[in-house]
């Protein structure tokens, strides 16, 4: 399967990428690691007329100390997040989750910014960012703005990023002593989560987020509020599927996913206790 033809533009800088997006509008698509976009293009589920390649913007691949948070460049690959000493010590959940994405080959190409901008409810890193209470920096023709993770995911594969905005940085609160847990339930090595749970103590309490339980990566709001009002872990976990719309597919129906969400939140909270 070969992608449909497109014009290829390699952006030499973040500004050049934004200019190309502004010039080509809806016709253009950014390509970072390409590990979500290329499969979609091969199935012709995506047929951009212009591909703006940002994969070699090495200036956007970094992990920096931002004071109360870590600043991670959008083009930082999963393998680099996984092995970064700073991410490991300050936001252990994120390093661990990056190491659970796909397989080593995928982690050698896929980027944190691409994973978040893609907004797939089945992917792992959005849930980690939600549980940590992080945010992203979006840069467009008019300048920069910060979007909290809780406001980033707006619909199936849709985010709050405007078509002419580039996600440049991911910000994660430093939580060196936080307890965290990641539960990824799948039946074969390398598979995506049938359901997954990311949970982490953060400044605001305990963040709990769900993978593959609806149209978007989502916070387990009922679990978080139950925990905040002093409920037991078991009572909080029982509310894991409240407000979700789990999909029915070959890997499991909605009822099965509802059950899994409760069990996995229960396991996560037990592991953190």
């Amino acid at each position: 399967m070969i992608p449909a033809s497109f014009d290829y533009v390699e952006a030499a800088s973040a500004e050049a990428a934004i200019a190309a997006l502004t010039e080509h509008g809806d016709e253009a698509k950014l390509m970072a690691g390409g590990h979500s976009l290329i499969p979609l293009m091969r199935f012709r589920l995506a047929t951009p007329a212009v591909v703006v390649d940002i994969s070699r913007l090495s200036g956007l691949s970094y992990v920096r100390d931002g004071g109360d948070h870590l600043a991670i460049g959008a083009l930082t690959r999963h393998c680099d997040v996984e092995t970064s000493d700073m991410v490991r010590s300050q936001a252990g959940l994120l390093a661990h989750v990056a190491g659970q994405v796909g397989d080593p080959q995928v982690r050698h190409r896929g980027t944190i910014g691409g994973s978040l901008a893609h907004g797939d409810p089945a992917s792992d890193l959005p849930a980690a960012l939600l549980a940590l209470g992080g945010s992203v920096v979006a840069r467009g023709p008019g300048g920069e703005r910060v979007i909290p993770a809780a406001e980033l995911f707006t619909g199936f594969l849709e985010t709050a990023l405007a078509p002419d905005e580039l996600l440049t940085e991911v910000r994660v609160p430093k939580v060196p002593d936080a307890r965290w847990s990641f539960q990824k339930f799948n039946r074969r090595a390398q598979d995506w989560a049938i359901v997954g749970v990311a949970a982490c103590g953060n400044g605001a309490g305990t963040g709990v987020a769900l993978i593959n339980m609806g149209q978007t990566p989502m916070v387990a709001a009922a679990v978080q509020s139950a925990l905040a009002s002093g409920a037991s872990a078991a009572d909080a976990a029982a509310r894991a599927a409240e407000g979700t719309e789990p999909p029915d597919d070959l890997n499991g129906d909605a009822e099965y996913r509802t059950h899994l969400a409760q069990v996995l939140v229960g396991r996560a909270l037990a592991e953190m206790a």
Binding site: I2, Q105, A189
Partner: protein
């Protein structure tokens, strides 16, 4: 568009469409057919090559994205007629049957040991999770990787320190 890269130490250049995937650049434009296409959907790892020393699925990268890079395919591993330690280990441990997955397996395993020269069995199994084999049941593949990690330890240690990674 003109796409230049180094393949197995040799400079290559070809005029290809922008949509050309790296695996087809290697097979059709360069004529190196050792890199196999299995699933063609990013899952099986048969198309694995080394990009600047790291394993990647060449069916999920545009050739244009790696202009100027250093690519190693299975044809580039052996030194003349002397097999590379990983190839030798696959042969000695019967790490292949039909051989279809083998080029990708060997390169994925090479990247794995460059990161972690003395992996445990569990680390080898996890490290090869991106590569599917329909024949061997993986058992002898894992054995081959552990075998060369032990028997050619100096070789792998030297590679690991070169890439700045320590065990």
């Amino acid at each position: 568009m003109q796409v230049d890269m180094t393949v197995n130490g040799q400079d290559r250049s070809a005029d290809v469409e922008a949509r050309t995937l790296l695996v087809y650049y290697l097979r059709d434009a360069v004529g190196l057919t050792g890199t196999n296409v299995g699933c063609d959907t990013s899952s099986c790892g048969a198309c694995t090559v080394l990009l600047n020393g790291e394993s990647v699925k060449s069916c999920t990268i545009l050739a244009a994205q790696v202009r100027g890079a250093d690519v190693t395919t299975i044809e580039g591993l052996a030194d003349g007629t002397a097999l590379h330690p990983m190839q030798q280990a696959f042969m000695e441990c019967h790490g292949l049957q039909c051989g279809y997955c083998t080029p990708g397996m060997v390169l994925a395993a090479t990247s794995l040991l460059a990161d972690n020269p003395r992996p445990t069995e569990a680390e080898v199994r996890e490290g090869l999770e991106g590569n599917l084999c329909r024949c061997t049941g993986y058992h002898n593949i894992v054995k081959a990787v552990l075998h060369t990690a032990e028997h050619d330890a100096a070789f792998w240690q030297a590679r690991a320190s070169k890439s700045g990674v320590t065990a």
